[in-house]
Amino acid sequence: MPSAAIVPAMTTAGGYLLVFAVILPVAGVLLSVLLGGRYAERIAIVVMPFGLAIAVAITAGVWHSGNVLQYVVGAWEPPLGVAFRADGLSVAMVMTAALLVPAIGWFARGQFATPPATQSRAATTFWTLLLAVWAALNAVFLGADLFNLYVAIEFLTFAAVPLVSLDGRPDTLTAALRYLLFSLLGSVFYLLGTVLLYGAYGTLDILLLASRVRMDPTAWIALSLMTGGLLAKSALYPLHLWLPPAHAGAPAPASAVLSGLVVKAPFFLVLRLWFDVMPGVSDRTAAQLLGVLAATAVLFGSVLALRQARLKLLVAYSTVAQIGYLFLIVPLSANSQIGHPWGNSAWTGGMLQAVSHAFAKAAMFMAAGLVAEALGHDRIAGLAGIGRALPITMFAFALGGMSLMGLPPSGGFVAKAMLLTAAVGEGQWWWAVVVLVGGLLAGGYVFLVLARSLAAPEEPLTLRAPVPRSRQLLALAVALIAVLLGFAPLRPSQLLLIGRPEAAALGVQ
Amino acid sequence: MSFIRDGLTIGAVAVGAFFFLAGMVGLLRFPDTLSRLHALSKADNLGLGLIVFGLLFQEDELFPALKLVGVWLLALLAGAIVAQLIARAAIRDRPSA
């Protein structure tokens, strides 16, 4: 049982990489603030390959050792000190961020390029905050201490909110303010749960806590408070109201970061809480309740996406729906009949959904941004002919949409197929219906856009601005990653099991 | 000895608290900003002074005692300045002016 070797007090070989994954982008942020707008873009571009290299090294380390990487900061052992820990789950998300952030950064050069010797507010802020988002995401995915994770999600909030209102229009300011208020409320409830757990069990370290936590009212209330707070931050129905205006109002690269990556962080913490910190505390009713919210999000978000008149809002509402799929993990694995949640294909399916949605949605927002730049608007009714004018862009949009629909061979297909398998295997067929109907609705809104864009325009389409081919190809590349994820094997992934207690004993292949 | 010190402390603090109370009543009952300000700053400065005076008897060392006096002086200074500023603002914004 290799997992039994995880001792909270030990720094493993290669553990220092975890600290660097957080500190490197932080250093970039500090440098950007110090040197100002002229250098922010260059600093970000220089930091990115190193950040990617660190993520690859972490992945390799976890994969080769077959065990978690761990770093004890300052050599102060938990529970007194703070540790960072990378298991299979962390690696999947860290790698996703490390691929997407540079891709989005490269894409954003077309929009936020800084001409030499001048400064611009939006560009400086964007590049500084892009690195800050990256640092915060890594801190969330690698954090192993509940309070350190609180600081990390607040870090993420402060990095993400100003991205929404970069253009300074009143409606984006309103969206940013609402996002901030929802997010702060979410964090404060997370914090409340954290202190209740500390008061009951005397530690904040996730591993130590998992070994001490009991099924008692305090744990139960803490779990509800923290889950509620995190749901508000990840915009699960009915706490989704802030998301569409915020994600649709932000500049396209920022939307791609927010929709693809930022909302995944609170979801990730929900998984940590339900499956790592308190696996025994969640009961069937609570898990089913969460499932009902998730299912409503899938259906409601998809229907609203169908009814949108603007492309970016359509994509944003589809995020509301796709977040619903993620939370189906909870009812499908929390009380798995196999015995351990991660033995179930819902676990892998849900994580694959998180990763493939990140790429698919980023590609779709990039494409939507290019369309809006080319046309000067993003009204769906006025898209006729854009498919012929920007074929690569619309192809990227279609590939991303394919993953959302769950068409083979995309990552979304495998993810949804695994969720279906799990729903049937667990005897909870009603979630299977939700997955299928959600896929059909997604097909509806994606085809709506594609059909419109391929239609012949009434008058010849004139593009307001030329769209560089490189940016279109970048969107396509990101969409292709989402599709290639579909060649992942259709069974519980070994990588995601690394660091799961008892996973080895379970003998899942 | 400690009995006398405690007695002095209790007496001074009680009188100080009375001045605070009087200031509070003035703040609530007086009709306009300026007279309220008058009641408040008078009572506050005196009240705080008496309380600090009372607490001095409980201090054996010089430095903490000096810190207490310092607190009073700073509060006095800040109170005076703020009262000035509020009074000016009140006169400027007076509806008849």
Binding site: G168, L177, L185 | -
Partner: protein, 113 residues
Amino acid sequence: MSAATVFGLCAAALVGLGLFGVLVDPHPLRKIVAFNLLGGGVFLIFGITARRGAAAGFASDPVPQALVITGIVVAFAATALAAALVLRLVDETGRVTLRSAGSGGGPSNDAHS
């Protein structure tokens, strides 16, 4: 009943009051004020946890105390950012409200071109 319990009940009341203010007050600045009350209640729970953890010659567990100090600073940062957003919104629109073209979940969100 110990001091910790008294202030613990007080904290519970503050969390409820603050949450109510955040949820129902229409004015964003007052939402922020209410949010600070809510935060105060949560910090107080840290305080009573610390007080109940008095040991080893410390009258209060230092770890939750340090966490609260971090929390207070973060809460201030949040207040400052929210306040700046409110001010900019007022400069742009002359109104203080969270309801705008982007409000609500309906499909009528395409008000601006």
